[in-house]
Amino acid sequence: MLSALLVISGLAVVLGAVLGYASIKFRVKENPLVEKIDAILPQTQCGQCGFPGCKPYATAIAAGEADINQCPPGGEEGIQKLAELLGVEAKPLNAEHGEPKPKSVAVIDEQVCIGCTLCIQACPVDAILGAAKQMHTVIAVECTGCELCVPPCPVDCISMQPIPEEIGNWKWKYPVYSLKAAS
């Protein structure tokens, strides 16, 4: 009787220790759902969804505080993926938050730039290089095309330019051919 009690309580202590250790060692710091949603979002950090960045939007979706159709850069495909992940019905993009646009990058007209640094402060991904009273320029590969740098510019020297199709980013098109008409 005593040995059985000892074995059981011993087991309880050992398993408790293992569980306690595991809960510390394998602790999931953040809500994994937020991470999964954030991985689908395009990381433009443009704020068109009404949240200050993609992560806050992902957090809001996970908490059920935001709908899945508020991200224009993600487009229909993004909505589709979110719907699949969350097991809800896909819906069309909410036009209130803007229309999807072709992928663009910001370009600074370096002749006009006065070096005010306002765009640098606005850029959510630090993709603008420059210093006070020095010319600024956009690091094109790091620009997400969020447009947030356009309005602060006091001399209106930033324009959004769509990324042209080149051999490097050219894609094979979906095959288009005629099906034989049934007679």
């Binding site: 937020v34 395009p42 996970a62 209106d156 980013n169 094979w172």
Partner: protein, 553 residues
């Protein structure tokens, strides 16, 4: 006698080799202009080293390799650089790319070349010389050869395979090269063997090229290396690297690996030739053998300078017949149409076929897939083409990848046998390029996330640092004030408050000054983005819901 193996499927399209292999390789007179693209290889575009007006010598480097996976580009003849600009390319997209236009001076003055004493050279220096000589795989993939010539420290190379199979119909450039320059190919193989130290060296040639096999065997007899020339059965795509490796060794490279993982490395015979020229003569890749065939008066092989316009070669082959409606680069199975006959010959140009409706009937209208599985029987990569077709058509790319889409070599056997005439390979190409584009987008998104998170961290850190500094300053100020025994603290406080109020009022009054002369749509756009920014500011000031409070918690 070596036991040969077989691969799954394959097809036997009409050969059409005799049209162009009855004449010797012909030299090409200098064209009036050469257009030399800077991107003729897999990897990064070469960086231009010349500007319009520069005079260059034959063999001078005009484009420098950029990064590891890249290769140099050279002036094909001496002359003057006329332009560094976008020009039509022999690419399925028909899009232009950066090219150097060279006007030959007709003098053909060469830059000083020296042979390399490769046996005494540092292996890495030798590989760099090959990169700077612009040596790339001439079988069609144009992958920089120096990378493949870097022996793996983990896996000993058992077999070095030289690919002279040339399985695509119509093409005879490797056939003619082997017939006429077998000795030089063997010299190139000797350099490769020195760099890679393989246990055995095999040259695989399809048995429809008896002259080439005989010439190569005769040349091998002269060499000190034990090189074996193996005649392999003629079946398309027997010249695919994976298929030739399977036939010669019975081994299959792993799906997600390289042939070196199973101790095999494979090069085209023309690549061996250019390595010989580069190492033993110091001569960069400025020309290649091109088959001009199909609907031309006199099909033939030419040794064309890189950058020669295709139409110049077609004219030399007796000109295209009047019903020519298309020019195909490569073979009829894997090649693609050229956007115009003005595009230049590049390192990948093995063959130009003038097409006519009589030679290549337009594909009949496609009919629905009947799941007859003939494509699966023909597939040399042992895939399920009909399943891949459904996934690619439905844009179910994840599933397509699960079904090993990337093992597809785009040989076209499935399209060739499809009784419903479905352009299957087009679907696979579409799916592959979509998947690549998505991967690139994902990488860009990950970079943006990382940068955004760091920015948030930086802003927070700066704020804290500033607050600490201010607190310190204030503390020291109070101390000094207390020490000096200033009585008028309240007056000071009042003046500070007044200054803060003034600053606030001023800030509220500021409006952007430079929107007066803007068009209304621009104003509207700015207003929209401003509204968004205001929302962002507001949101940033509100306490954020903590992350653990949402979802499943």
């Amino acid at each position: 006698m070596r036991t040969l193996h077989t691969f799954n499927g394959g097809v036997h399209p009409a050969q059409h080799k005799d049209e162009s292999n009855r004449h010797a390789i012909a030299p090409v007179p200098l064209p009036p202009l050469l257009t030399i693209p800077l991107h003729q290889h897999i990897g990064n575009s070469a960086i231009p080293l010349v500007k319009p007006g520069d005079h260059v010598l034959k063999g001078q480097m005009i484009g420098q390799a950029d990064g590891y996976v890249s290769a140099a580009v050279h002036a094909s003849t001496s002359g003057t650089v006329r332009a560094v600009e976008m020009h039509a390319m022999p690419h399925p997209s028909g899009l232009p790319d950066l090219c150097i236009t060279l006007e030959p001076d007709g003098e053909e003055r060469r830059i000083e070349h020296g042979a390399l004493d490769y046996r005494e050279m540092d292996p890495s220096a030798l590989r760099n010389r090959l990169r700077d000589a612009g040596v790339v795989g001439l079988g069609g993939a144009v992958f920089p050869s120096f990378i493949k010539l870097n022996p793996s420290s983990k896996q000993k190379l058992q077999t070095l395979i030289l690919n002279g199979a040339e399985c695509e119909p119509w093409i005879t450039c490797d056939d003619m090269l082997m017939r006429e320059r077998a000795g030089e190919i063997i010299k190139g193989i000797e350099v490769m063997a020195f760099m890679l130290r393989p246990e055995e060296i095999l040259v695989g040639i399809e048995d429809n090229k008896p002259e080439a096999i005989a010439a190569m065997r005769a040349a091998c007899a002269q060499s000190s290396l034990p090189i074996e020339v193996v005649a392999v059965p003629t079946i398309y795509p027997g010249g695919g690297a994976k298929q030739l490796i399977k036939v010669l060794t019975g081994k299959e490279p792993p799906s997600d690996g390289r042939s070196t993982d199973i101790g095999v490395q494979c090069f085209n015979v023309a690549t061996a030739y250019t390595i010989h020229r580069a190492v033993n003569f110091g001569e960069p890749v400025i020309s290649r053998i091109v088959t001009i065939t199909g609907n031309v008066a006199q099909p033939q092989n030419f040794e064309a300078l890189i950058g020669t316009p295709v139409e110049h070669l077609v004219a030399l082959a007796g000109g295209a017949k009047s019903n020519t409606n298309d020019y195909i680069m490569g073979g009829p199975m894997m090649g693609h149409s050229l956007p115009s006959p003005q595009v230049p010959v590049v390192k990948a140009t093995n063959c130009i076929i003038a097409g006519s409706p009589a030679l290549f009937q337009p594909a009949p209208p496609a009919m629905p897939c009947i799941r007859c599985s003939r494509c699966a029987e023909a597939c040399p990569a042992e895939l399920q083409p009909m399943d891949l077709y459904w996934f690619a058509r439905g844009k179910n790319f994840g599933k397509a990848q699960e079904y090993s889409l990337f093992d597809c070599i785009e040989c076209g056997c499935c399209t060739y046998v499809c009784p419903s005439n479905i352009p299957l390979v087009q679907y696979y190409r579409f799916a592959k390029s979509e998947i690549w584009a998505r991967e690139k987008e994902k990488e860009a998104a990950d970079l943006a996330r990382e940068r955004h998170e760091f920015r948030q961290f930086r802003l927070e850190r700066d704020k804290q640092e500033r607050a600490e500094k201010l607190a310190q300053k204030a503390a020291s100020k109070i101390e000094t004030l207390a020490a000096s025994g200033e009585p008028d603290m309240d007056a000071k406080k009042a003046s500070i408050l007044a200054a803060v109020e003034r600053a606030k009022a001023k800030k509220a009054g500021i409006t952007p000054q430079n929107v007066d002369n803007l068009p209304p749509e621009k104003l509207k756009e700015i207003a929209e983005i401003e509204a968004r920014r205001a929302k962002l500011r507001q949101a940033a000031h509100q306490p954020m819901p903590t992350e653990s409070s949402g979802g499943e918690g």
